[in-house]
């Protein structure tokens, strides 16, 4: 018997890859058919992910208190749902699995306790929907690709499976596999269909990303070697001990009971436990079925703190290793965000990649970095994250300012957008690094939500802006800003739509870019006014480079030949992005915040309680 939620989520992950594989069996000359097939594949995925959204909303709504019009409930948090699923599975007589809890597990490699464990919450779901959406439009934008169409769409759709899988995965190993799956198609997409320096750019992209994933891999292996039996229900440990006793009777009683896992929620709890241990708050630890005043229920059911103390001597609970794990995870994902100074691959990759791939790079792949920090680095190593928060927030603020200034000095439109991405992703880092415990956690929650909102907003504006450059490039065959001009005269509709996107990117109120930036600024001021000031100051530079570009590209008199107005296909892409930019800017609560925020705030609260000011 397989659960409904597991099927739905797996469909979202694997439908693109299935469509991609089927692309290959088309005869080579049916280019148009392949395109439509790929579009169908992404359309199906988009519909399915929207279904997930509806289902997730129902899940929140079913628990919510209607009088308060709030979708908060402790039982709908991912951690609680995953824990419940684990509890049911580990009962001596397993209870039926829940079909609507939106976490699902299938054993995969039993020897290492690797599971196909997936789930959604308000942190992953916005990015999943964003991925499906951007991919759908990237396929529309790929209509102009003429060489090796089948291979192109196969790679594109495989890439989508990799990205979606990473967002769904609740098992570190699974996450790593998907993360790597995504890398190879990207290499070929840039290296084969890219511009003049495509080989160099693709190589650089792979080297940087591989370096990041090596860090990630080391961290994952290190985490696996930690014995986390105290953070797992006693019944689960018993059950596994029983199995192991049968397999290898020579092990000692203690060795049998060792519990290693890749399960992300469990590791998060262990990491939070480590923070309590390291800050001398061991006594606040308690079992999940014995909550108490001022206690933090992290330990597994049936586990007592006294029996667990001995195992807090493990490496994982030492400051050095907390730092080590955090730095490994942080660098692994920082390359992807990218955080200055690990950003050098981005301008090259963006500039050389074909338009749709640039859209995907900026719109989706960068979000993997932010997601990884939010989902892994911070919850698994909160102590080190707290210790290093000033450094990280500083890197974020520096990235905002640095990216903006470098963008100001660019002459290549696409490279300018690449640096503007670096600048905008800095807000994500700043927002999530703005630690605050106790009463200040409310402000951190704004920062964290701002970071998430910024990721979604940037996903929309950045992919739209890269599409804008693509449209211009198709007509003028140049990306040099100096060689463009007067576009508004010949392409008024295009100019009107791009104007809204420019201002959305600039963070004009009423458009999506503003919401995230505002939340981050409001949240981070409480953490460190200086960093917030830097972010505020950068808004002026951001306006400067965007407006200057606007003036040089769109205004003035066109001396470079007549460009034809955008086609219906291009208009459809741009119009959707524009409508989304406006809608997300005007109605943040209704459209996104209401169902995203409970999970994000839940994460903040679970971390903030570890540091009561």
């Amino acid at each position: 018997m397989i659960e409904y939620d597991l099927i739905m989520m797996s469909l979202v992950i694997f439908v693109p890859a299935a469509f991609g594989l089927l692309c290959l069996i088309f005869p080579a000359k049916f280019k148009e058919a392949v395109r439509w097939w790929a579009l169908l594949g992404t359309a199906v995925t988009l519909c399915l992910s929207l279904c997930l959204l509806v289902e997730y909303y129902f899940l929140l709504d079913s628990r919510s208190d209607r009088g308060l019009r709030s979708l908060h409930h402790p039982k709908t948090l991912l951690d609680a749902r995953a824990d419940e699923a684990l509890r049911r599975a580990s009962m001596p007589a397993p209870e039926p699995r829940q079909a609507y809890d939106w976490v699902g597990t299938v054993p995969w490699i039993d020897r290492f306790d690797i599971q196909y464990c997936i789930g959604i919450d308000g942190i992953s779901l916005p990015l999943i929907v964003l991925t499906s959406l951007v991919m759908f439009f990237a396929v529309i934008a790929s209509w102009k690709i003429e060489t090796n169409v089948r291979a192109y769409f196969f790679l594109l759709l495989t890439l989508q499976t990799g990205v979606l899988g990473t967002f769904f995965a609740l098992d570190l190993f699974l996450l790593y596999v998907f993360y790597e799956v995504m890398l190879i198609p990207m290499y070929f997409l840039i290296g084969v269909w890219g511009g003049a320096r495509r080989k160099y750019a693709a190589f650089k992209f792979v080297i940087y990303t591989l370096l990041g994933s090596v860090f990630l891999l080391v961290a994952i292996i290190g985490l696996y070697f930690t014995d986390v039996r105290d953070f797992v229900d006693k019944t689960a440990v018993d059950a596994r001990a029983e199995e192991r006793r049968k397999e290898s009777p020579r092990l000692t009683q203690d060795e049998i009971r060792e519990y290693h896992t890749f399960h992300i929620p469990t590791l998060q709890r262990a990491g939070q436990g480590a923070m309590l241990v390291l800050t001398g708050q061991q006594n606040r630890l308690t079992a999940r079925d014995e909550p108490g005043e001022g206690k933090v229920p992290l330990l597994g059911r049936g586990v007592h703190i006294e029996s667990a103390r001995g195992r807090f001597q493990q490496a994982f609970f030492q400051p050095t290793y907390q730092y080590l794990f955090f730095v490994l995870l942080f660098v692994g994902f920082a390359v992807k965000v990218p955080v200055v100074p690990f950003h050098s691959w981005l301008p090259d990759a963006h500039v050389e990649a074909p338009t749709p791939v640039s859209m995907i790079l900026a719109g989706i792949l960068l979000k993997l970095g932010g997601y990884g920090l939010l989902r892994l680095a911070y919850p698994i190593c909160p102590w080190a994250a707290d210790q290093l928060s000033l450094v990280i927030a500083g890197l974020g603020a520096f990235g905002i300012v640095y990216g903006a200034f470098v963008a100001l000095g660019q002459t290549d439109f696409k490279r300018l957008l690449a640096y503007s991405s670096i600048s905008h992703m800095g807000y994500v880092i700043l927002g999530l690094a703005a630690w605050g415990g106790g009463a200040k956690s409310q402000y951190w929650a704004w920062g964290m939500n701002g970071a998430m909102y910024q990721m979604v907003a940037h996903g929309i504006t950045a992919s739209a802006m890269f599409f804008v450059v693509g449209v211009l490039y198709d007509r003028s065959h140049t990306r040099e800003i100096r060689q463009l001009g007067g576009v508004m005269t010949s392409m008024p509709l295009f100019a009107g739509l791009s104007a809204i996107l420019f201002f959305a990117s600039m963070g004009l109120p009423g458009l999506c870019g503003f919401v995230g930036e505002l939340f981050v600024v409001l949240g981070s001021w409480n953490y460190h006014p200086g960093l917030s000031l830097a972010a505020i100051g950068a808004t002026v530079v951001t306006a400067a480079y965007l407006l200057w570009t606007w003036q040089r590209v769109y205004l003035g008199v066109n001396h470079h030949g007549h460009y034809t107005e955008i086609t219906a296909r291009e208009a459809a892409v741009l119009l959707t992005f524009v409508v989304l930019s406006i809608a997300l800017g005007v109605l943040p609560q209704t459209l996104l915040l209401s169902w995203m925020e409970p999970s994000v705030t839940g994460l903040v609260e679970s971390l903030a309680r570890l540091k009561p000011d």
Binding site: R197, G409, N449, L508, W525, L547, L555, Q589
Partner: protein, 736 residues
């Protein structure tokens, strides 16, 4: 947006054919403040309609040859012709908004007299959630939990709302005439030397969006919403300044305006962040209440910083020193835009915000406000003395008058400053529209030196403008006299109480004379005497009815808007009394109720007029001689005190330079084919180069090692030892 959450509009069943309308009326009467919400959304509806119509038409344009549907829609929406019907619709929407505003004003005034304050508060204010974070438990007032949108009507916003919609309607009507050449399919832009389709519809599109944002700014009850509309009016101003975007000067001026405003907005944002962190709300009323109750959780210095931050936003928007340089350049936009946005409404928003957020300003901040105003009013007036472009004179005069308002607010004359905002809006809109009429009549000639003697060709324009000039100069019984008198008596009161700050009275007094001089100079040069350029004079003509009616309406307001009884008593102004009702408790002016300041100012002004008459009418003093004698001063003023050059050298160039340096530091790039060369070489002068060099070094090292593989065992051992040492070193550092 405002009330949608609470009021189920759609569920109101209509049993009778008029049920829908009846429901609408009862919906409005339940909370009459909603009238203002409706009035605010009317221009937005016009904007949306124009936007969608334009978008659909542009979308259908390429397909009109092949698809019948596309052709149908294309020609239904005007075909090749610029949208015209939409412009009339926008004007109608604006007019409707004005009707609502006046009904609202009357209702509010009635309410405020006949109902208890609590009831008024309930009927004229509503809030709704825009974004919230964290669980909202019942009966807890958790700070920083929710960002709200809302409206709150008081005397100040009701009166300003009426003013904006009235002036707005006048200007919309005027624009129907003034922009009529934009209705041509092929419009010739003589400045940029291009022929292009007219942009009649686009003009009204931006104008409507502007009005929506401006009205939203006025009725907002919280700083966040003010900030949102603050930026929105800024962006409309950006598009309208750059309306003739083929002209480099126009697009540059637009960028300058937007960026200088962004600098101010950054300050505003700092203020917002501070308010959020310490008060946990943006609601002005709530913050003011906390402060009044002595529950100010903020350290005093931060409170000052917050005030300065918010004021910096006002400095940007109201073109105060040192961010004043964008406003004169903004005259690149069409003249109705200058009248509406850059004279009557948007630039006054800064003054409005100072008035609105008055309780958030400490005494130090108020002093800064006063000095900023004093410096600005003097600065603007001196530059206006030498300008020859009719619109630039008015632009500098606007800068100067806004300075008067800021000064008044700074010295505690809350009513005086805001009353001047109102009277100025009417006479400055009148003056700008008059200048628009002149420019229209002279076929886009703006240089006053080529005019002269136009009063015979365009009498209505000339004499309505004369009324405007008399009002701005402060002629008794004209509206400007009431407000200026109040400002000066407040300044004098302040200076008498604190003699250190005597400059705050001397500067505005002296500037009253300058104002009189440059305004009469403008009128004389344009309308009096004989024509100096016969080509201009021959073709000059009075503007059509559509343009002169707004002039006459505004002229009537410029005379009588501030009247009260007794009319010779400035402090008896009825409008002033109304404004006084929403004066914050802590604003206590030190105004002397005698007429000394007023008489002094009048004397100085008469002196200014006399000099103007001597120079430009009787020619007793030859302006050329004066110019020659004071060449240095003249040059200094012509160069606008050198601010543009200074900022260019101080900010623009360094920032741009920093951009290019940063770009070079980040990555070495070469254009075209040479780019490959950079990729292959090792380059340690950029961040990217260094990062790449590490990789390249590894590869090179790999090659070297491969060669060594056949080498001696000793080297292997050394390598292994070295590696072990490094590893141990790393580990020991980690364990420490």
């Amino acid at each position: 947006m405002m009330a949608g959450g609470h009021i189920p509009v759609g569920t109101g069943r209509s049993h009778t054919p008029t049920g829908g309308a009846g429901y609408m009326v009862s919906w409005l009467l339940a909370s009459p403040g909603r009238m203002y919400v409706v009035a605010m959304f009317l221009p937005l509806a016009a904007f949306a309609l124009l936007l969608i119509a334009g978008g659909v038409r542009a979308l259908c344009r390429p397909a009109r040859e092949i698809s019948a549907t596309a052709r149908f829609w294309y020609f239904l929406l005007g075909g090749h012709r610029p949208i015209r019907l939409g412009a009339f619709f926008a004007t109608l929407a604006m007019g409707g908004s004005a009707v609502f505003a006046f009904i609202g004003l009357a209702t509010y005034l009635h309410d405020s007299e006949h109902r208890s304050p609590l009831e008024v508060e309930q009927r004229w204010a509503e809030r709704t959630t825009w974004a919230s974070v964290g669980e909202r438990l019942p009966d807890t007032d958790k700070p920083a939990a929710v960002i709200e949108l809302g409206y709150r009507i008081d005397h100040l916003s009701a009166i300003l709302f009426a003013m904006v919609t009235f002036v707005g309607t006048c200007i919309f009507v005027f624009s129907l005439g003034y922009m009529s050449d934009e209705r041509e399919i092929e419009h010739e832009d003589h400045t940029a030397h291009v022929t292009r389709p007219g942009r009649f519809g686009r003009f009204f599109l931006f104008l409507s969006l502007f009005c929506f944002s401006m009205l939203n700014l006025l009725i907002a009850d919280n700083l966040f919403q003010i900030f949102v509309s603050w930026e929105l009016v800024g962006v409309c101003s950006f598009f309208l300044i750059g309306f003739y975007f083929e002209r480099k000067s126009a697009s540059t001026a637009a960028n300058k305006a937007f960026l200088m405003n962004r600098v101010g907005d950054a300050g505003f944002l700092i203020g917002l962040a501070l308010a959020w962190v310490y008060f946990g709300t943006f609601n002005v009323q709530d913050i003011a209440r906390d402060i009044a109750n002595g529950q100010n959780p903020m350290p005093a210095y931060l409170f000052t910083v917050m005030g300065l931050g918010i004021f910096l936003g006002c400095v940007g928007k109201s073109a105060q020193f040192p961010l004043h340089t964008w406003l004169p350049d903004a005259m690149e936009g069409p003249t109705p835009v200058s009248a509406l946005i850059h004279a009557a409404t948007m630039v006054a928003a800064g003054v409005y915000l100072v008035g609105r957020a008055y309780p958030l300003f400490t005494a130090e901040v108020r002093l800064v406000i006063a000095y900023t105003g004093a410096i600005t009013l003097f600065l603007g007036a001196t530059i206006a003395l030498v300008q020859t472009d009719i619109k630039r004179v008015l632009a500098y005069s606007t800068v100067s008058q806004l300075g008067y308002m800021m000064l008044a607010l700074g010295v505690g004359g809350w009513v005086a400053g805001l009353l001047h905002l109102l009277t100025h809006a009417f006479f400055k809109a009148l003056l700008f529209l008059g200048s628009g009429s002149v420019i229209y009549g002279c076929h886009h000639e703006q240089d006053m030196m080529k005019m002269g003697g136009l009063r015979r060709k365009m009498p209505i324009t000339a004499y309505t403008m004369l009324i405007g000039v008399l009002a701005i100069v402060g002629t008794p019984f004209f509206s400007g006299w009431y407000s200026k008198d109040m400002i000066l008596s407040n300044a004098m009161g302040f200076a008498l109480a604190e003699p250190n700050h005597i400059a705050l009275f001397v500067l505005p007094l002296f500037t009253a004379g300058l104002t009189a001089f440059y305004m009469f100079r403008l009128w004389f040069l344009t309308f009096a005497g004989t024509p100096r350029d016969h080509h201009v004079a021959e073709h000059a003509h009075e503007s059509p009815f559509l343009m002169t009616v707004p002039l006459m309406l505004l002229a009537a307001c410029s005379v009588g808007i501030a009247w009260g009884w007794p009319a010779w008593e400035p402090h008896a102004s009825y409008l002033g009394h109304l404004l006084e009702q929403s004066q914050p408790g802590m604003a206590h002016g030190l105004a002397k109720k005698d007429h000394l300041a007023g008489w002094l100012a009048l004397g100085v002004a008469i002196l200014g007029v006399t000099v103007a008459v001597l120079m430009y009418v009787t020619q007793a003093i030859n302006p050329a001689n004066v110019k020659a004698k004071m060449a240095g001063v003249h040059q200094f003023l012509m160069r606008k005190w050198g601010f543009d050059e200074l900022y260019h050298a101080l900010f623009v160039l360094p920032v741009m330079g920093l951009g290019f340096v940063a770009a070079r530091f980040d990555k070495k790039t070469l254009p075209g084919e040479q780019a490959h060369a950079v990729d292959k070489s090792i380059n340690l002068t950029s961040l990217d180069g260094v990062m790449s060099a590490i990789g390249q070094g590894t590869i090179l090292f790999g090659r070297r090692v491969r060669r060594r593989q056949t080498g001696q065992i000793r080297q292997y051992v050394t390598a292994v030892m070295l590696a072990a040492v490094v590893l141990l070193g790393v580990l020991s550092v980690l364990w420490m």
